[in-house]
Symmetry: C2
Amino acid sequence: MTDLRHPFTAHQPDGRNASATEVLGKSGRSDPGTILEIPARQGRAVRVSKGQHLRVINTHGSQVGDFWAFSEADPGEHLSMEHMRPDLRKLTPQPGDAMVTNRRRAILTLLEDTSPGVHDTLIASCDIHRYHKLGHQGYHDNCTDNLRMALSAIGILLPEIPCPLNLWMNTPPRESGDILWLPPVSRPGDQVTFRAEMDLIAVISACPMDLLPINGEDSIIRSLSVSILA
Amino acid sequence: MTDLRHPFTAHQPDGRNASATEVLGKSGRSDPGTILEIPARQGRAVRVSKGQHLRVINTHGSQVGDFWAFSEADPGEHLSMEHMRPDLRKLTPQPGDAMVTNRRRAILTLLEDTSPGVHDTLIASCDIHRYHKLGHQGYHDNCTDNLRMALSAIGILLPEIPCPLNLWMNTPPRESGDILWLPPVSRPGDQVTFRAEMDLIAVISACPMDLLPINGEDSIIRSLSVSILA
């Protein structure tokens, strides 16, 4: 088993996960307007220039997408949930909200959200330890390794693993502080659109969690789509 | 101005903040039973051996303490709020709860809490960017630099800046998702006691936030105390 203490080291998954080898466009840069698939259980990196729009599409409606954004100039600066929450004074971004980095600079603005707006900012991306604690034995695809692999596929060494924005994940905290684990309320074709406020690299992982109902009652993992708009 | 992009680089504060030079005990290791002061606006590191108890005391009752814990064997493994929340399925730890690292291993167990149990796990530690966005000009003491300095004072280079456990910080999220900024509900002498589940280094910063009422309606910053129990 590979040592996972260091954030840039991923487990070696089985042959079906191509996150470390398949690249969208040229080193993550794709032509505006092209619809790109994030295969089920896998992750991909997408380069977005300042001013461009990035759209993430919940093709099948029930799929959670773990989402990260890193400054292209310095990947040590990245979208940060714990810095975004005090900046917005709310848990979850809504259309019009600027989302900040760990240096509290805007990296993305959420422009549009056709879904009911239920997303999570509280929960770490799943990793091999999570699946083992839930009773799984052996390797299991996971969003943390997908992040590591998707960035390594375009030559980027990950400095740390930030908490993701979990698109469409329905894990609301109650006033009591208890967190619920519920299926998404999104519908097929729902999409969120962001404007890049700096040159950045976004990573999207089609979350492979099939031991909890966060990807729908049937726990079938499906693909997502992304597109860059000029 | 020092480049703050890298997590181990702190601003140079003015001469009143001794977080980078004053050390508790011998390189952070103190005799069990001794009451140690965390001066107002400053941070200190404390080494705790597996099985020892660490007590943090809200001496004056109204002071927030930003709290971190790092594995002594590998500071890249640390207490992680975003990993703790799904493990506990709640926002805030309560007595009896094991708190996990970014590898989902228990690092501390919360044994006792004499306060009403209101603590925050959602908000990044304050930093110079936060104070500048709130309108402050020039340097302002901040918990992020206090963390960097307190660890550097005992020779530890910080690999990243995790989200802290903000002891006694009263910033509850409403069902709407809005986050409130309220004074602490703790009382003088309230204390939380943890058991170390591995050899660790804890860092406590007496939060210098005086531009929001999180440290009491008077926004006067006060000291905290810590003690190791055998």
